[in-house]
């Protein structure tokens, strides 16, 4: 490794000089332009390798007005981000798609963007676009981001507009089908542990639950907010049990909440599914990490991540992807119903 390489300071100028061509030709080679003679191509390529040349990102981005970076913005705290396998799947999906491109991912986990760091990062032109998942009604900084770069949302945006791009799963239908399955298995007193109602996913799954019950002319049971966390699910289940008149089934809007609920049900001396059937949502790894294994509505989170990245990349490439993509869910029958 040369001294230059170690300082990380080889410039296009030096490459050009060493290869006996102009800066432009080096630039063309680096950017894969076809208008370069075989000899020039060969010479430049060799010199680049010899000198260990890597183009300066700032200079390139300043001149081309592109960064080849996209941001993933998650308005949650770190604990939640790492605690919920949903995010792992989303990130994997995005990464998988991005690794097939020359874009890099910048991850921002910021529940409230203290000091506007994330917002000004994006607005400073540091990324070409953003993917936003798990956003809440209260996340107003999102709007400022969306007004400065192309954005693709994971899940229906809080205030949906015509021009919004998003990739969602069919939450209403998924919840509907999940609840219907409970009914078909003979359950009649069906409660639900919902996600937070300041999130579209929380709202939509609750709606699906209600629609299924209405279709069978059944009275809704207890509705408790479990906040999409295991602890929240446990607390919600506790409230349902404490209210007396235990349900014979609970539709729980995420597997993580179901895990919490399961522990509470166990402590109460009730059996699953004999006394209470439990229907989850996600089919994340936690579904099979609990006893009994969860019957749950699978949502394709990895595919959702991949698709979001694809839509954003298309947008940045000047293509015109569809504004809305809805992915289907699928019932996975295991032991809890």
């Amino acid at each position: 490794m040369t001294t230059e390489a170690m300082r990380g300071s080889v410039t296009i100028e030096e490459v050009a000089a060493a290869a006996g061509v102009s800066r432009s030709t080096v630039s063309r080679v680096v950017n894969g332009s076809s208008a370069v003679s075989p000899e020039a191509l060969e010479a430049v390529t060799r010199v680049i390798a010899e000198l260990n040349y890597v183009p300066n990102r700032a200079a390139r981005s300043l001149a081309s007005r592109q960064t080849h970076a996209v941001a993933l913005i998650v308005p949650e705290d770190t604990t939640r981000f790492f605690g919920d396998p949903f995010f792992a799947a989303i990130v994997s999906g995005i990464n998988a798609r991005l690794s097939r491109s020359d874009y890099v991912l910048n991850l921002f986990i910021a529940n409230d963007d203290p000091g506007d760091k994330t917002t000004s990062y994006v607005r400073s032109g540091a990324v070409d676009g953003a993917i936003i998942v798990s956003h809440h009604t209260s996340d107003t900084f999102i709007d400022r981001i969306a007004s400065s770069v192309p954005v693709v949302y994971g899940g229906r945006p809080v205030r949906e507009r015509e021009r919004d791009y998003y990739v969602d799963v069919d939450n209403v239908r998924g919840a509907h089908d999940a609840t219907t399955y409970l009914i078909e298995r003979g359950r009649r007193r069906i409660a639900t542990i919902a996600g937070p109602l300041d999130m579209p996913a929380g709202v939509d799954r609750l709606q699906g639950y209600h629609e299924a019950l209405a279709a069978w002319e059944l009275t809704p049971g207890a509705v408790e907010d479990g906040n999409f966390t295991a602890d929240g699910g446990a607390a919600a289940m506790q409230r349902i049990l404490d209210a007396g008149d235990a349900p014979d089934a609970v539709f729980i809007a995420s597997d993580l909440m179901a895990r919490g609920a399961l522990a509470v049900i166990g402590s109460a001396g009730l059996r699953v599914p004999e006394d209470i059937a439990i229907m989850g949502f996600d089919d994340s790894p936690v579904a099979t990490s609990v006893i009994p294994h969860l019957t749950t509505m699978r949502q394709p989170s990895f595919a959702q991540g991949e698709r979001m990245a694809t839509v954003l990349l298309d947008l940045l490439a000047g293509k015109h992807p569809r504004h809305v993509t809805i992915l289907e869910t699928e019932l996975v029958v295991r032991d809890s119903v």
Copy 2:
């Protein structure tokens, strides 16, 4: 919001014009230079707010040769990264420290850096420094990164050199103390499930185990590699059991592996701690998510993350932090020993 703001294209030039000063003065205000008159300061500040000005990062970085960004590089796959609470704690710690600075974090989860994306990102001057955790003997791309920007390692580097900066926990001592506790509690046939031996943490904890046994003149039991994963831990435990002559205790080099081992022990009809005592390492959230709750050696991962960030920030500020920081571990007694 003005049209300019929406295009995200207000430049320092426009701010200067609107405030009736030169570019230089605006730059001074933005960078908090003291050499600005109160009137100029006031005018510029007001215009910046009005126009919603955010300096262009690429331009700033090109001119100043600083990015105010640091990379966290994790040579693991996504599944592992999200599956091990250790990383959650590390990232939280780094974030906590960085949020008190004006640096942002760029996260790279890349087990092998396909296409040299991470490496060239760093070498392109996109970040001022890097934190590298969980690296293996085989991760050679790390060297190319370390030769172009200041690096702080999480854990003793694979090939330690004088000039390396790193923050580690006292793995040898932690493992030594953990094993000794097992001995003091009367256990004599002590096996271990080690981490991968291409990682310093794996090597050091195994060494601590051996030292403790040697100090008591006890014969080492089975040594199985559990790969720092739950599945690996389960497989390792299975091998230990299959070999016959079950141990009366196992020192397991991570809580995650202990979880896997616990499941296998349960399936074998053995009781913990009556038949086999289990000592974990980490005191991550999984320690209390299993039955029985793990007796384990706590390592301060959040603090480690914070400290790594502090060392890197000091380095970038031209200070001279200590090269090596060793954090202490602490025994947490619960129900598995």
